[in-house]
């Protein structure tokens, strides 16, 4: 990955914007919502904003690896920010930026649909994030806890277990749609910023 001075400065700026959003809005939302609700709401909001910022950045640095570099900068800024060391959001930022990069590589050309694919892939991580992090932290036994919770929840609400699984699939779909939308918005936003700077 070879970047010019201008590319690196733009990467720094978009990384700092993503980091600033994480440090201000992210910390605020994590305080308001309890940790167990993070995956379903806070994580999705933060990931969508991150996708928008990183993909707008890609508009200005149209090179492979730029989005990943933006993610690395944002993750490190998140690490040193107030609110303590938060491994979860750091892993999420890095994984999302890698998945965005993968989406852009698959799309090959610099198109709106490439951005949509990149956004959808990045937000898909948000669904698996807590399961993967919990696996690393607690081991595979944690899946037994989750499965038990789903079974007990289904019996408590007197709904069939298949409906519970349907809800899980629905939650994944919501993320894919939100990610695609974030990519779509990033494409428009990039052009608006471009036009404003050209004035």
């Amino acid at each position: 990955m070879k970047f010019s001075v201008r590319d690196l400065v733009y990467i720094a700026i978009f990384g700092a914007i993503w980091g600033a959003v994480e440090l201000t809005l992210g910390s605020y939302l994590h305080v308001i919502f309890p940790p167990l609700a993070d995956t379903f709401l806070v994580g999705m909001i933060m990931a969508s904003l991150g996708v928008i910022v990183a993909l707008v950045g890609r508009h200005f640095v149209p090179r492979t690896g730029a989005v990943f570099m933006i993610g690395v900068v944002a993750a490190i800024l998140k690490m040193i920010g107030i609110g303590g060391v938060t491994v979860g959001p750091m892993v999420a930022i890095l994984a999302e930026s890698l998945l965005m990069e993968l989406g852009l590589l698959i799309a090959r050309k610099h198109t709106r649909w490439g951005f949509v694919l990149a956004g959808a892939l990045a937000l898909a991580w948000n669904f698996f994030h807590k399961f993967i992090m919990m696996f690393f932290l607690f081991g595979k036994g944690v899946y037994e806890v989750y499965a038990g919770m789903v079974k007990q929840g289904a019996s408590l609400l007197r709904i069939d277990l298949s409906y519970a699984l349907l809800i899980i699939v629905f939650l994944l779909l919501i993320r894919l749609v939100a990610g695609g939308l974030a990519g779509w918005i990033a494409w428009d936003l990039g052009r608006v910023v471009h036009d404003r700077l050209a004035r």
């Binding site: 990955m1 070879k2 970047f3 010019s4 001075v5 201008r6 690196l8 400065v9 733009y10 990467i11 720094a12 700026i13 978009f14 990384g15 700092a16 914007i17 980091g19 600033a20 440090l23 201000t24 309890p34 940790p35 167990l36 928008i52 910022v53 707008v56 200005f60 570099m69 690395v72 900068v73 490190i76 800024l77 690490m79 040193i80 303590g84 060391v85 938060t86 491994v87 690393f136 932290l137 607690f138 081991g139 036994g141 944690v142 037994e144 806890v145 499965a147 038990g148 919770m149 079974k151 007990q152 918005i185 936003l189 608006v192 910023v193 404003r196 700077l197």
Partner: protein, 241 residues
């Protein structure tokens, strides 16, 4: 380059100097051994992690006072006897499993080991050392980008607040909130990029060239190698015994 951040630990550990690699080995080694350690053996890994953190970076132990970590661990401890294993005990009308209880305890201890090791790594390694480490992994120019980002961060946060207040005072968030949010983002990004042009000019005027970056100056110390060897031996022992 050695890492000394905890001044209280300095007098006791003057002879043992870990580099960034040492702390990285510690984090990865702890994660691997905690995953490999079955049942009660995880207690040994936790004791080792606590000892290392206490001696070399006692600030990392502040993690144990963080409510967020307990918010993850306590529910696991409480739920495990209810949902793991066959119930063989009844307390206050609740059917509990002893096996589930112990499974929950081992899971919680493993989580503590890994979280503590991550805390030691994040607190011991500075931003510039992290940048050097990543530059060594072929991410050329990252150190420069990180320096610019660290300097720009307060300005960007201030721009965000000022723009938000200005838009709010003009009644921007009363209707069409999404459009207003978009306007806020455009304002912040465009303003930051304009400032970025000045930084580019300044860097180019000083003939800065990212391709001529010196790369990583961090070298592995004897203490790092000893730590890596100790973790390797421990991992093998856990696999065999």
């Amino acid at each position: 380059m050695t890492v000394w951040q905890d001044s209280r630990a300095m007098p006791r550990t003057r002879r043992i100097a870990f580099s960034v690699y040492g702390y990285l080995f510690f984090f990865l080694g702890t994660a691997v051994t905690a995953i490999l350690a079955r049942e009660g053996r995880v207690v040994l890994v936790l004791l080792g992690t606590l000892l290392f953190a206490g001696v070399f970076h006692s600030q990392a132990l502040k993690l144990l006072r963080d409510r967020k970590i307990w918010a993850f661990i306590v529910p696991t401890l409480l739920l495990s006897p209810l949902v793991i294993g066959e119930p063989d005990l009844e307390i206050w009308g609740l059917h509990l499993s002893r096996a589930g209880f112990w499974a929950g305890v081992w899971m919680a201890l493993r989580a503590l080991c890994i979280a503590l090791a991550a805390s030691v790594f994040a607190r011991a390694v500075s931003v510039s050392q992290m940048a050097e480490l990543l530059e060594g992994m072929r991410l050329k120019g990252l150190g420069f980008a990180l320096g610019v980002a660290t300097n720009m961060l307060p300005t960007i946060q201030e721009t965000m607040q000022t723009s938000y207040q200005a838009i709010r005072l003009r009644g921007g968030f009363r209707s069409g909130r999404l459009r207003t949010l978009r306007l806020l983002l455009v304002t912040v990004i465009a303003g930051s990029l304009r400032r970025g042009d000045d930084i580019v000019s300044a860097a180019e005027a000083r003939a800065f060239d990212p391709a001529r970056s010196l790369g990583s100056s961090i070298s592995v110390t004897h203490a790092d190698l000893a730590l890596a060897a100790a973790f390797g031996a421990l991992a093998v022992a856990l696999l065999l015994v």
